[in-house]
């Protein structure tokens, strides 16, 4: 059963990007590509050869694989409703965050390895924004840990259930908000970044992978898709009462992931992205909101 949850995660990771694309093309009144387009692109990338620039070294070649494996390692920590995760230990949410950070560290130094001034700019933006995004996640899960008395994802989510208690409801709402907003930062979507842009000077994540090609580029895309699905799964875990039976759980999971994709798609259709120097403020706001949840819990516990 634990493996099942992990498989659901992989399947949803396969579907979300195409779904977001569909939502965006419907919102723009375009015919648009099919839901499988991202996978056709990845299949093409896998079939292609790779080009390495002369200025790059070993780091550049191994970084995409390390990044992907870090993300898979992190994904294995996530439970699926009442079914626990593949790996679980006390304090694993700290491990979760830093294994993701390790992956990001490698993508940043791989961008610096190319010596391109664009990629250097992208790397510095990525480093800054992810650093600012970190406290939000910690504060939120620290609050959840206080509520439930557990420090692992499996423990937290097996204990945390939505009930009529209005404090818990507020806490859940804030949690969903924080996770959703962090996912926009982490997966480089509007309003923080624009995955569609071709303008090197305005990119954050995309500019870091300008030099990657073929197989490596496919790995990087897969890593991003997985990350997206992981945030969807976290949101699902937060709002699902774990006592439901499997069928209901799956239905809710599908709904949550679909809603996640629809919301992300609509945001990308109907608003402009932030000015670069507004991004820190935007990201710090997420932490501030998470802090509210933490304070609510402190009051509750007294």
């Amino acid at each position: 059963m634990r493996l099942l949850g992990f498989l659901f995660l992989i399947v949803s990771a396969l579907l979300i990007p195409g779904f977001i694309l569909r939502i965006k093309s419907i919102a723009a009144g375009r015919k648009g590509p099919g839901i499988w387009q991202p996978y056709r692109d990845i299949a093409i990338l896998f079939a292609k050869g790779q080009v390495f620039s002369n200025t790059t070294g070993l780091i550049f070649q191994i970084a995409p694989a390390i990044n992907l494996s870090c993300i898979i390692a992190a994904a294995m920590l996530l439970p699926f409703g009442r079914y626990g995760s593949l790996i679980s230990f006390d304090g694993d949410f700290v491990y979760f965050l830093y294994i993701l950070a390790l992956g990001r560290f490698f993508s940043i130094i791989s961008a610096l390895d190319t010596g391109s001034s664009f990629e250097g700019m992208g790397a510095s933006r990525e480093a800054l924004f992810s650093m600012l995004a970190e406290p939000a996640f910690f504060i939120l899960f620290a609050a959840l840990a206080i509520v439930t008395g557990h420090t692992s994802f499996s423990g937290i989510f097996s204990e945390y259930t939505i009930s009529g208690d209005h404090n818990i409801l507020i806490m859940t709402l804030i949690g969903v908000f924080v996770l959703f907003q962090s996912s926009l930062v982490e997966t480089c979507r509007v309003p923080v970044d624009d995955p569609k842009t071709h303008l090197e000077l305005t990119m954050i994540h995309e500019v870091m992978i300008l030099d990657n090609s073929g197989f490596d580029k496919a790995l990087i895309h897969i890593a991003t898709y997985l990350k997206q699905a992981m945030y969807g799964l976290l949101i699902y875990n937060l709002i699902t009462p774990f006592k439901l039976n499997l069928v209901f759980q799956i239905i809710i999971f599908v709904l949550v992931q679909a809603l996640y994709a629809i919301t992300a798609g609509l945001i990308e259709s109907f608003r402009a992205r932030n000015k670069m120097n507004r991004n820190p403020k935007f990201i710090l706001t997420i932490s501030a909101v998470a802090w509210i949840a933490f304070v609510i819990i402190l009051i509750l516990k007294k």
């Binding site: 001034s117 700019m121 305005t202 608003r271 402009a272 992205r273 000015k275």
Partner: protein
Amino acid sequence: MKGSYIEIENNSGPYRIDDIPVLPYSDFYNQTITFMRERDSIHCVAYFGIKYQNRIRIICLLADDTNGKIYGYSFIYNDNETLDSVTKVLPQMHLFEREVHENFGVRYSGHPWLKPVRYSYDRLNTDQVIENYPFYRIEGEELHEVGVGPVHAGVIEPGHFRFICHGEKVFHLEIQLGYQHRGVENLMVQSVKPLQKCILAESVAGDTVIGHTIAHAQLIESLAGIKAGSRLQIERCIALELERIAVHIGDTAALCGDVAYQLGQAVCEALRTSVINTTQLWCGNRFGKGLIRPGGSNYPLNAETAKKISEMISDTGRRFEDITERIFSLTSLMARFEDIGTVTALQAKKAGATGMAARSSGVARDIRVTHPFQYYQKVNVNTIIQQKGDVLSRALQRKEEVKESIRIINQLLVVWQENPENISKPRYDVPLKPDSFSVSLSEGWRGEICHAAFTSGDGKIMSYKIKDPSFHNWLMLALAVRNQEISDFPLCNKSFNLSYCGHDL
């Protein structure tokens, strides 16, 4: 103002070359400075050299916005003479002097920076090539340089941009163009058939086909001493306004795209298509290639097409109004447009800005009003201006100009029906008057386009000069991004949407 110059009018003539007074350089220098210093309304439309009677003659053409005149005067350059640069006093002349220096080896002293305009090497000193090209530098440990181009990520033309940045903030931008140099001016002289010249004029800048061909056609007509009939003039104006509408809507789409506002982008792109498709319906080409020819037209407007145009513009106008209302009330988008890339009116004047770039900075320069050509003499054109000179002003400028163009087309369509004369086929074989010259200005969507031609004793064109508005306005972009964030550069760039090949010729 006393001085020695020939006073000519736009799209008239032909005038005799010998009527352009030849001044000693000191008088030329003083006259240029007096003219442009005393009055804001006078700006330089062209400053170029011709080889005349085996000597290099440098001609300066100034346009006076108050009385619709163009003043022409010249000097003769003797080899190895070093001239005092006008740029020291009038920065707007910097590019003209660089161009003359590059093409004729005229030496200037006191010019702030005589670097090449179009060639990858200095033609006077071939050791200086683009590889060891001295880009402007600021030394500092915390500064870094970002070079963009000449090959860009989008499907656009080549040009090199060198930023000097402090973190995300741009201190200085240097723009090096010339990668697209095709020698259009020389080809204009070399091409034997008049039709070839028309096709060359169409290719000066791909998005200003109508603007450049109107300038070319009226130049040939005035050199030949013929005048287009009212109906033909009206049709040309309609085509020019259609081009303006199409480009402004397309650029609004691109501006939305650059800030990731998908709705605005998708809607405006669709609207632009409906405009250019109407041009295609009219002449078979979406950009209006083949539509404007000297002396006549291969595609006279018929009642059916005129009705289509009228329906299309009212429909497009309404839809564009709807979407721009949304665009300019969206807070996330206004936060991106407001106070970004500001160019003040003073900077615009000093840079010699023209067209919509100047108007959005509060400088009311519009050739349609000041030096009316074709049928613009008889229709009422309002000059739209904005005051702030930021990206928002330029976006609003486009919105308002689309509205105004629609109003102009509606006026033109009414008078078009009242002038039911026949339009003849184009006249390619008209003889041009020998030893003459003429100057033709038109207001393309980007701004003032200047074509000037000189004929030799046998009535052949011996020198042809083209000036696209981009020539001045690239400096506006460099000024706009100072102290801005480097991530806002694409937005500033798009808000001007200048032509690379129009500059490079």
